[in-house]
């Protein structure tokens, strides 16, 4: 029994560590100036998601979550970056800076406000249960969702917007593995492949835009309007 308590406490702390670093990587995606650096932050974020899923799988003794760990690592850390690098031509990555709507310190402050908002929304929800993993993962996953959405809004280029959407899914899954660990396995599998297809489709579309329009600054594509 003593052993179990110690193990449990260590597991909660490791999960908490993964959670804290998860938020940090979400900030990192906002704060990075270069596309490849954002992509590396996303890979790191997916690894943290896998780590949290591993801890939760051990805790709930659920084989589903271990499968989630495997899928996350294979798809999000290996396949998706590979796809994004292959499909989109190199010169999109070679540019030094991404154009953004707001400068980085302002974005970081808004990001902190979004994190506080996420905690505020999820506090009535986490009062429903006593599970300490839920109390940790739900606000952090929701914050990841909001921060990813913020990245999509603020960045004007195609690839950072793709990374933003993928990190929103990361956030949703980070919350989901703690609150819905017994989702049917087929749902987890198909959701993972769905993320892969999103990356594939957006990558191909980016390549097409690059070929046809010459630039991937999708923020500049504003011709469809009522003028």
């Amino acid at each position: 029994m003593q052993d179990y308590n110690v193990v449990f406490s260590v597991l909660t702390k490791i999960n908490a560590l993964a959670g804290g670093l998860f938020i940090l990587t979400a900030f990192g995606i906002i704060a990075m100036r270069q596309v490849l650096a954002s992509l590396n932050m996303f890979i790191f974020q997916s690894i943290l998601l896998a780590a949290s899923a591993f801890v939760l799988g051990y805790q709930h003794s659920s084989i589903h979550l271990f499968v989630v760990v495997g899928i996350t690592i294979v798809i999000k850390t290996i396949l998706i970056p590979y796809l994004l690098r292959r499909i989109i031509s190199k010169e999109v990555y070679a540019r030094r800076e991404i154009s953004q709507v707001l400068n980085i310190p302002t974005s970081l402050l808004i990001a902190v406000a979004l994190v506080i908002f996420a905690y505020f929304i999820s506090s009535p929800l986490s009062n429903v249960t006593n599970d300490i993993f839920v109390k940790l993962n739900l606000p952090i996953g929701l914050a990841g969702l909001f921060l990813g959405g913020y990245v999509v809004i603020v960045r004007r280029e195609a690839v950072p917007q793709v990374i933003g959407i993928l990190s929103m899914e990361n956030g949703a899954f980070f919350a989901g593995i703690s609150i819905a660990p017994d989702l049917p396995l087929i749902a987890e599998l198909t959701a993972a492949f769905d993320v892969l297809i999103i990356a594939l489709v957006m990558g191909i579309l980016t390549r097409r835009i690059h070929e046809r329009v010459g630039t991937t600054e999708v923020g500049k594509l504003t011709s469809l309007r009522e003028e």
């Binding site: 959670g19 940090l24 980085i104 902190v112």
Partner: protein
């Protein structure tokens, strides 16, 4: 009781004696990583010794601030060394004088006088460097405050001896997300305050680009020696705060015998040595930031510390 006074004095001697060694170590390791042979690790001692034997040249236009600053820069880290855990895990005789916040303010006092003195002489490079140092300083202040507040909130006290016990006893507390984020924020703070890459290049000679080094430009002879030594001691003291309170709160003497206290000296040196290696790796792999990017760097530190506070507060 007398023991505690003796331990305090030993602590101060350790800080005074080993600070230049750490400085020499960093410089040597940086050169080694760049495949150069590098200077001897005792070189700062030799420099200080040489400077003590030289004459001073003081500008006619400077005032008493210029003359008094080297002493202040030398004494303030010694004061702080009396307050923080360097060798022992329990408060010593003078520890009642101030807590971490007080220590931070005393260090800031030294920096304040150094900036004033840099403006005092009329050299054009002095005010330039001083204004940049103040910019970095004022951006780093919120981070300092929030880090200290969060640490105190978590541990329930502002006295460093009590704070570091919080991380020691239940080991699991070490891995709290707020703790990790605080370590990261404080690391960025140390880099900013002591003027290391990516904020500033400590071995650069180009006055137009200097931020922190410019405070020592005008001094010569004994004053220069005191400024150099004081700078090394400030670095040592900041590292002690960082390592002994936040990162590796182990290896401090718990008992009250002389032997234990003396045994703690190699421990602190090993810890600082390990951290110096990490610092050298960071320094060698990053480039110096452009001046206006320093705000983003410190903004990131600020955001990290706020996240640490938020994750702690809202987990309650």
């Amino acid at each position: 009781m007398a023991n505690k006074i003796i331990f305090n004095i030993i602590q101060v001697f350790v800080v005074m004696a080993f600070a230049p060694l750490i400085k020499g170590l960093i410089n040597r390791l940086k050169e080694n990583i760049q495949s150069k042979k590098g200077q001897s690790i005792f070189q700062p001692y030799l420099d200080i010794w040489k400077l003590f034997h030289k004459n001073e040249v003081i500008s006619e236009h400077s005032s008493w601030i210029f003359r008094i600053t080297p002493y202040i820069v030398f004494i303030t880290p010694i004061f702080v060394a009396l307050l923080i855990p360097v060798l022992t895990g329990y408060p010593l005789f003078f520890a009642f004088m101030g807590d971490m916040l007080g220590g931070g303010f005393i260090l800031a006092l030294g920096g304040f006088f150094a900036s004033l003195a840099a403006v005092d002489t009329g050299n054009p490079y002095g005010p330039m460097g001083a204004s940049r140092t103040r910019m970095v300083g004022f951006l780093a202040e919120p981070v300092f405050m929030i880090v200290f507040f969060t640490v105190s909130f978590i541990a329930g006290s502002t006295i460093p001896y009590i704070v570091h016990k919080h991380w020691v006893t239940p080991l699991a507390n070490f891995f709290e997300p707020s703790h990790v984020l605080l370590m990261l924020a404080f690391l960025m703070l140390i880099i900013a305050e002591t003027g290391r890459i990516p904020v500033d290049n400590p071995s650069g000679h180009f006055e137009l680009a200097m931020i922190d080094e410019s405070k020592g430009l005008e001094y010569s002879g004994k004053a220069a020696a005191l400024m150099k030594w004081g700078g090394c001691m400030k670095f040592f003291v900041l590292l002690c705060i960082f390592l002994n309170v936040l990162v590796t709160p182990w290896g401090l003497a718990q008992g009250e015998t002389l032997w234990e206290v003396l045994l703690a000296i190699p421990f602190i040196l090993i810890k600082i040595f390990a951290f110096v290696i990490i610092l050298v790796v960071i320094e060698s792999s990053l480039a110096k930031l452009r001046l206006f990017r320093i705000t983003e760097f410190l903004g990131a530190a600020f955001v990290t510390s706020i996240t640490a506070m938020v994750t702690r507060l809202l987990e309650m």
